[in-house]
Structure formats: C-alpha cells, structure tokens
Symmetry: C2
Subunit: 137 residues, 2 copies
C-alpha cells in the first residue's frame, strides 16, 4: 500500500484529511490549513501527495464542477464498502453525500442489466434539495 518515504509533509496532509474524515477537502484548504498551522507545504507537494494517496486508495477524488477545484476525501479502511453518491442542489449549490442501499443496488443493476460500470466518484446527481424546494414557493 504505502510506498516511498515517510515525510513530515505526507504525514501532515494525511492527518488533516483523517481529522476531517467523510468531508470533501480541496488542495487549497489543505494548503491554507498547513500554512496557518505554521508548517506550510508547497502546492506541488500537496498535489503530488494527494495523487499518490488517491492512487493507492487511501483517498477518493471527486470532481463536481470544472470551475470548482477537485476534492479529496479520506476513506477509513474499515469502511471499504463505504460507497456513496453525491447529490448537488442546483439552487443553493450544496453538495450532499448520501450512503444508501438503494444507490448501491442501482449500481449493481446498471452493471448487470446494462453492462455499464458506474464510477461513483465521478458521478453527481443533480436536483433540488428539500430546503430549496420549500423556499421555492
């Protein structure tokens, strides 16, 4: 799994992601956080580290929109099957992540009946969230 040397930078980046498990973090947030903590890490290093971690499965990478930056999320090893989908409200822009049986069965169904393998990390379901629907009048 883990390859390469163990360095202060990698440790800190991973630690931060872990401390915010289940949340979507951007490279920029990591950069800012580490800088604020008085232990800045170069941008290039952050991206390179994130790429590594995403490659070896420690993190998941998500892309919601081209005008937004990519996000990374720490995936606890114990929750290997912690798959979830993303719902993005087109009105308030909020991104919800939802873990749900139904969604996973959808994936199997599509795979079996339509021969298509969905990549949950790239897929976002667009719509309107409850709050916005109500406010919509």
């Amino acid at each position: 799994m883990k390859q390469g040397y163990k360095t202060r930078q990698k440790e800190q980046i991973l630690q931060y992601l872990i401390s915010r498990s289940g949340q979507h973090i951007t490279a920029q947030e990591i950069s800012r956080h580490l800088a604020d903590a008085g232990t800045p890490v170069g941008t290039a290093t952050i991206y390179r580290t994130l790429e590594q971690l995403a490659d070896d499965g420690t993190l998941r990478k998500y892309t919601i929109d081209s005008r937004t930056s990519a996000c990374y999320e720490y995936v606890p090893e114990t929750q290997g099957c912690n798959r979830h989908f993303h719902l993005k409200c087109m009105q308030c822009g909020t991104l919800f992540h939802v873990t749900c049986e139904h969604l996973n069965s959808l994936e199997s169904h599509i795979s079996e009946h339509h021969g298509f393998q969905i990549d949950q990390s790239r897929t976002v379901l667009y719509g309107v969230c409850e709050k916005c629907r109500k406010e919509k009048t």
Copy 2:
C-alpha cells in the same frame, strides 16, 4: 425563454449543437468548428453564449473532470428526455440513454427518503461501458 438579440454568433453556435444533438460538445470543439467553417467566433462569446443557453435550459452542461473541459449538449424541446438517465463512458465518450424502472424508482426513493428531487435531465452517471471494460484487458 430566449432573451437578448439574435446574432450570427448565437445562431451558429446553437445550430452546431443542434446538428450534434445528443452528443457532448466542448467549447473548444465549437470554436474549432466555426473557425474551420470560415466564420470564427471569439472564445469569450462562445463561453458567454453557452452559459446563457445552459441557463435557459436549451443546453445542458456536464463536467467530467477538472482537467478536462466542460461539455454541452443540446436538448430537443419536444423530447421527453426527462424520463431517462444518461450514462457516459469516460473512455470512449459514448453517451447512452437508458430508460429503466430501477432508475425511476431510484428517483422516488431519493425524493421520499432523502428529500432530494433529482433532475434526470441534468444528471449523468459516469463510468465505463461494457465494450471499454473488456478492451481494458
């Protein structure tokens, strides 16, 4: 619906998208096409026009990856494209239109249990199609 003036540029951009209905087109492709046709249109104009068209629902905008450009797709008004989902293969780029019970029940489920109303016309499920999966070795 349609607001603003009618100009040569808007007409041509829309015409091109229409001529390729159901396909995902990037701003760059449009730019190149129009330039080749001897009627170039400025990049800024293309982006501004696409944004407008996407806003008023004439086009749909899709994003696969932040390092890739965004795609736009023409949506015929008459077409009840609202009753099926789109599956896009990230490898060969093919777009599949799938009508399926499961998908519709998914929509109700999300609506009832998660309070989120999915807009099928805006949603694309990304993944890998059967053909590409096999070729992948």
